[in-house]
Amino acid sequence: MNTETRYGWVSRLIHWLMALGVIAMLGLGAYIVRMEVGFSNLWLFGVHKSIGMMLFALIILRLIWHRISAPPAPMPAEAAWQDSAARIAHRSFYVLLVLIPIFGYIGSAASGLDVLLFERWKVPSVVPVSEAWEDGAFLVHSILTKLLAALVLIHIAAAIKRRDGTLRRMLLGSAEARVA
């Protein structure tokens, strides 16, 4: 469980799984939109969709978990604007991580092709088969993804720059080394 000063292992595990997944997906997404598609690499679309759905599940799990076990408050920054910026960035992460897979799913489902989880389980389609929906959803998906990529870079830079134990707290749970 989280405490007022510590991240519990569940929050940290979800955070780092999502970090790995998001960075991998940004790279994979950038690659598949540029590659020459053929039989040998068509499976990458399936991987992209499957990981995207898993990341969506993780962000929902994270939101639920933080309702059950509230995370510690952000560590105070050197300037008030930095606190505000960090708060906006964190909220933006949640919004983007919810919306990006939703719009990816809408675009995929609107194409008329089955959306499969790990090439096995069909995800029900709840949108009409429509090129307008498909094009619109993928456009939003693409724009939001670029915003997310920028946010990830800012987040990593800020985490490295801050020397107040913020990064350590997300890595090990506590901002301070345990005193034996």
């Binding site: 598609v37 092709l113 089955d114 088969v129």
Partner: protein
């Protein structure tokens, strides 16, 4: 008297033979027939087949222009060589099988050319009709005698641009020119 009867009999036989060599209706052997297609897909080619729903084939080997061909293909049962392509092909962005379940071809003229024929006609895809020329070659199966036309293999080939019919889905991934490779076996109607 005999001198008159014999040429008359010969003339009668020849006219009967000429009548036999006129247009002949053929029935499609669906089991041994395949309407194939191929379309570029990046470095690869998507291939597949359409089942024939109906076919009406009349062949005249003496006057090719008397020959006629009409074929109806079943879009809803079309198959490609991987599942997503099958679904995409039948879907609204390509062939729209729900609203246009058939592809039809009706010949307008047949002209002998280089031992085969050029079959000119109209093809209707997604409700859009466009002219098309198909190269046709007719073969006897192995082991049959010269002049035996009871069973024939017909190979038709040609191209269509899918964009001409509004079948424009996934144009960024899949090529526009669809190559048709139709190999059918037909049996002379009795």
């Amino acid at each position: 008297m005999n001198k008159l009867i014999f040429p008359a009999l010969v003339a009668l036989c020849l006219s009967a033979v000429a009548a036999l060599a006129g247009p002949e209706r053929y029935l499609l052997d669906a089991e041994k027939s395949k309407v194939g297609f191929a379309v570029p897909f990046g470095p690869d080619r998507i291939r597949g087949t359409f089942p024939v729903r109906e076919a009406d084939i009349v062949l005249d080997f003496e006057r090719a222009s008397n020959s006629t061909v009409s074929v109806v293909l079943d879009v809803g049962q079309a198959q490609a060589n991987f599942p997503f392509a099958t679904q995409a092909m039948r879907g609204p962005k390509v062939l729209a099988a729900d609203t246009h379940p058939d592809i039809t071809f009706v010949s307008r003229s047949v002209a002998a050319q280089d031992g085969g024929a050029i079959v000119s006609g109209d093809i209707t895809i997604r409700g859009v009709t466009r002219p098309i020329d198909l190269r046709a070659d007719v073969f006897r199966p192995k082991g049959t005698e010269l002049g035996d036309r009871a069973v024939l293999s017909v190979v038709l080939s040609g191209n269509v641009a899918r964009s001409d019919f509004g079948a424009t889905g996934w144009a960024d991934l899949v090529g526009d020119t669809v190559t048709l490779d139709i190999r059918v076996q037909v049996n002379q109607a009795k």
